[in-house]
Amino acid sequence: MNKMPQWADVVLIPLISLLLAAILSALVILAIGENPWAAFKLMVDGALMRSAGWGYTLYYATNFMFTGLAVAVAFHARIFNIGGEGQAMFAGLGVAYVCLFIPWPHWSLALIGASVGAAVFGALWALIPAYLQAKRGSHIVITTIMFNFIAAALLNYMLVNVLRPPRSMDPATATFPEATHLPSFRDMFSTADNIMFRGAPANVTFFIALAACVLVWYLIWRTRLGYEIRAFGFSESGAKYAGISPVRITIIAMLISGALAGLMSVNTTMGESERLVLNSTEGAGFIGIAVALMGRNHPFGVFLAAILFGFLYQGGAELALWTNIPRELIVVIQALVILFTGALDNMVRMPLEKLFLSMRKGDA
């Protein structure tokens, strides 16, 4: 039934797509008079050759893993959750409340508390669109994207009018108490005479993201609920016939999805800025869609794609720091990767499928 072997689907197509994106990006860089090879080396050196560079790459990757998993879980139920951005934003409020108003004795307890807060707030923000979809048939793509704007407005109101410390110009909360500061990679991996990950924001949340990857894999492929989610995704009428309630699955899948998206704000808000800022999600909710698409909705694929996008973000920062490539063009490069791995997937897939089919005919 499969037109081509699994490895080609999982490895070959993303690699070819990446290569095409890289070639086009190189042409773009050439067109503005910079050296694409030097730019590429600068990105690799800055993102992967220094421990601080890795610290940034993994920090971004942590965000993308959470949001990528969020999109992937919903997608297994054929629900397109593009509200990860809003869910993460609202979850930031949860993290801020947990960190600011509960006197935590130790960061490990605070981390558990903040994770619960983030997951609950994120899930809540996904619950309303999920309910509207399940009970009223309001299309979830429309409602989740509208909820992104509602979350932005709500966050703005809370930060400007309620949580901002007096006299501060910055619409942000006060810095969280010392006891809630998460250990960064520097704290964890440095020795006295060898400081690693200096100044980098990667922190212990990265390991929560890894655990989330494993848990999502277990949930989707090893539990009854995961089976129901996938069955519902393959065929709603088939699932109904088997006694699976569409309302229940839609709501549960969206709650899990929202909770995962929400968890990213533990990384940004508690791990990096140590206060809630207005712009803490920075589009990671949307990058999650590309990450899930590229990772084929499999947690391991999401993990790899998240690292790749982390590399693009950190490498892009290096380009912005040391070259004259304007930041708009760095966004173009990132967009080309998304375009080729996500939107133009079939452009690579169809010729490859034909190729494999003709090879198989040759064998027979």
Binding site: A38, K41, L42, D45, G46, Y56, Y59, Y60, F149, A152, A153, L155, N156, Y157, V160, R164, P166, R167, S168, M169, D170, P171, A172, T175, R198, G199, P201, T268, E272, S273, R275, V277, L278, N279, S280, E282, Y313, G316, A317, E318, A320, L321, W322, T323, P326, R327, I330, V331
Partner: protein, 334 residues
Amino acid sequence: MTLMQKFLGAAAGVALSAGAALAEPALIFDLGGKFDKSFNEAAFNGAQRWAEETGGKFLEIELQSEAQREQALRRFAEAGANPVITTGFAFATPVEAVAGDYPDTKFVNIDGWMPEVPANVQLIGFQEHQGSYLVGMMAAMASKTGTVGFIGGMDIPLIRHFGCGYAQGAKAVNPDIKIVANMTGTTPTAWNDPVKGSELTKAQIAQGADVIYAAAGGTGVGVLQTAADEGILSIGVDSNQNHLHPGKVLTSMLKRVDVAVYNSMKAGADLETGGFTILGLAEDGVGVAMDENNASLVTDEMKAAVEDARAKIISGDINVVAYYENDSCPAHDF
């Protein structure tokens, strides 16, 4: 050898051979971007002027992400840049966090606020409410309908601060004046949404406003355009925007970010740090723009009133209340 290594090598070489005094300054633009026609661009113009006058070079970066704030500060400091100038209040906290690790580097933050200023940090603030007060007076004097408008960018305290000074100025001229105030949005796109600026302008005209002050970054371009098209007056912000629609822009509230950047770069490593620099009317840090483009709009009466108020604010006879003194405005409820 990569570009970065070359660069770092060169920077280290300079630092070793000539000492830190010859280090290049660095300028970090906030997320709005270098060419926002307003705040960041003014900073860039100041740096550009310094570069042209001295033949010097400066490092620069336009940020893409919140996490890059500390990163850019650290990387420039490690590369030997001095001083490192940042634009925007959002840099206050990262600068505060980073400054202690680089005691030999001087950091400048424009618009920020810190409870305690580290010894190698200088904060530069502007008395925007004073400048806004003056343009508010002019708006009230130019208005025939008794209604003036204010269009802000994102709904943040800084913009309420602009609007609050404006409202106080307008009320000082005409206590019965009606002030219509709108904010463009609650996301950063509010700084660059001329279409929405134009819609808000039309809505305010429908409510009777015939002079509108735009403190909204790139969004203000739409406000000024629509005001000119509809035959009412507008007021620009930050840079002198009178020339955008000659004879249609009443004046502009100047905020001399360019001068602040220029002076900081000129002082270089000798920059005085460890405190606040407040630039108000007295220092010409803020002011109203008078040039040939708005000469026909400004009456002698207006000029006299503005001059008089300016002198009184400097001497302390008029107290313009800053919005963040107690996070509320006596003249308008935002």
